[in-house]
């Protein structure tokens, strides 16, 4: 069998397999999508603040913020996503604090295939606008892959739980508290199957810290990661490290100019291309 034959047959197989999936109710799908879209628009129209992200061993990482800017011709407000690197102190602070949350048995894995990554861990991209900072660690624990996400997210304007999967309709918004912070989401259960353990704390200023632990982790590990004293330390120290961006990546905007509110430096961009600026 030639390579072309094989590719042709793979195409057939994929079609057959895809057609075997019956789509959900499209009206409900549309309704939920519109809800998400509207929430995105609301978020985009809110001026965000860039916050530095995790850095480790001198590798500076990024933070994101949805920033409303003015179109030079129309005056309308298209949105750009700004990824910043912040001063090293923030990264070191977050890295140290975050690592302190992990059980001693965790062995970190080399990161792979992700932008803005550093040795031993990786960070998320700025694609959704749901969050303004994120750090993830890949590791192994008792022979299983383990992942840890720490996200600083922009809360919804209505104060609802900020989750990435509202369609699950199973996020439990509780009023539990940990370290004096309101616990927004306790865990994620989708159709009775735990997908991930997801915790969120309101840290004030319209932001929350979310922690996601993958389902492979035993509850004893989850309990260890949620050590109250460690979180107290992380949350108390976080606000002091908000900084102005030194690296700006602008995406998804057409013919706009973004002006850094702190430095006054401007960053032009055109037609949905991505531009990266490094401050001198």
């Amino acid at each position: 069998m030639t390579m072309n034959d094989e590719q042709l047959r793979l195409s057939v197989v994929l079609r057959e397999t895809a057609q075997s999936f019956d789509p959900p109710d499209l009206d409900v799908l549309c309704e939920n999508a519109v809800h998400r879209g509207r929430r995105t628009i609301v978020r985009r129209r809110a001026v965000g603040v860039g916050i530095g992200m995790l850095a480790m061993a001198g590798v500076a990482l990024g933070a994101t913020a949805a920033v409303t800017v003015s179109h030079p011709a129309t005056g309308l407000g298209p949105t750009v996503t700004v990824v910043t690197t912040s001063k090293a102190g923030l990264g070191e602070y977050l890295a140290t604090s975050f690592m302190a949350l992990l059980p001693a048995g965790i062995k970190l894995l080399p990161s792979y295939d992700a932008p803005l990554q550093g040795e031993g861990y990786r960070v998320g991209g700025p694609s959704t606008g749901d969050w303004v900072a994120s750090a993830s660690v890949l590791g192994t624990y008792q022979g299983k892959n383990a992942s840890f996400d720490l996200e600083l997210v922009q809360q919804a304007t209505d104060g609802s739980c900020m989750t990435s999967t509202p369609s699950a309709n199973s996020y439990a918004c509780t009023t539990s508290t940990l370290d004096g912070h309101r616990l927004l989401t306790e865990k994620t259960i989708r159709s009775g199957v735990p997908v991930s353990w997801r915790y969120s704390w309101n840290v004030g200023g319209g932001k929350a810290v979310e922690l996601t632990l993958n389902r492979d982790l035993p509850e004893s590990v989850v309990a260890k990661v949620l050590t109250a004293s460690a979180w107290t330390s992380v949350l108390r120290g976080l606000p002091a490290y908000v900084d102005c961006p030194s690296l700006v990546q602008i995406t998804g905007a057409a013919d706009v100019v973004w002006k850094c509110p702190t430095t006054g430096k401007t960053y032009p961009t055109k037609s949905n291309d991505m531009y990266i600026y490094q401050s001198s």
């Binding site: 094989e6 590719q7 549309c30 879209g37 959704t128 992942s147 989708r190 492979d216």
Partner: protein
């Protein structure tokens, strides 16, 4: 004015969803290796993003293509964000499949797809389910054409390794059924 409304009217958005929703969902099912819950969530997230841009849709020459590209990019970013690293598929068969039935064979194919990296899976789905060219796939995934070709070859080799010679029979069976 409600700040949550796009600039232009959105009355035709449900029409767009009705026309494209099923295709998007099926693509998502392939991308997620048959995780229908994740696929539905992925489509909702994608359509939510499309809706947010809907008021500017006059700038989008091909809304269906735009949505498909958004779907793939959303999938890749979601997987990164959730730190869903490549994990062993616990239920993958160790032996090549036999003629136990289409359902099992499809599940086996989906298991095999799950064993691929997200990008490799996306390349296969775009190339062989979406029928996109190498150049179009490269543009959608922000890769070079060479990278798409090499990933495609690698992913095919991996599928071949995982599914064995019965993959060919499976394909032929599927093709024959499709032509009936």
């Amino acid at each position: 004015m409600n700040d949550a409304q796009p600039a232009a009217d959105t009355e035709d958005f449900p029409v767009f969803v009705a026309a494209q929703g099923a295709q998007l969902y099926r693509t998502a099912c392939l991308l997620t290796g048959g995780d229908t819950h994740l696929a539905e969530d992925l489509v909702q997230e994608t359509l939510g993003r499309v809706y947010a841009k809907w008021g500017q849709r006059r700038r989008i020459e091909n809304p269906a293509g735009y949505a498909q590209t958004t779907l793939v990019n959303t999938f890749i970013s979601m997987r990164r964000r959730k730190s869903n690293s490549e994990r062993p598929a616990e239920h993958l068969r160790d032996t090549p499949v036999d003629d136990a039935g289409d359902v099992e064979l499809r599940l086996t194919l989906l298991d095999a797809l799950r064993r691929l990296t997200e990008l490799d899976r996306a390349v296969l789905v775009l190339r062989f389910w979406e029928d996109r060219s190498v150049q179009e796939t490269a543009a959608a995934l922000k890769l070079s054409s060479g990278a798409v070709r090499s990933r495609c070859l690698r992913a095919l080799a991996r599928l071949r390794e995982l599914l064995g010679a019965d993959f060919i029979e499976f394909a032929e069976d599927s093709r024959n059924q499709g032509s009936r």
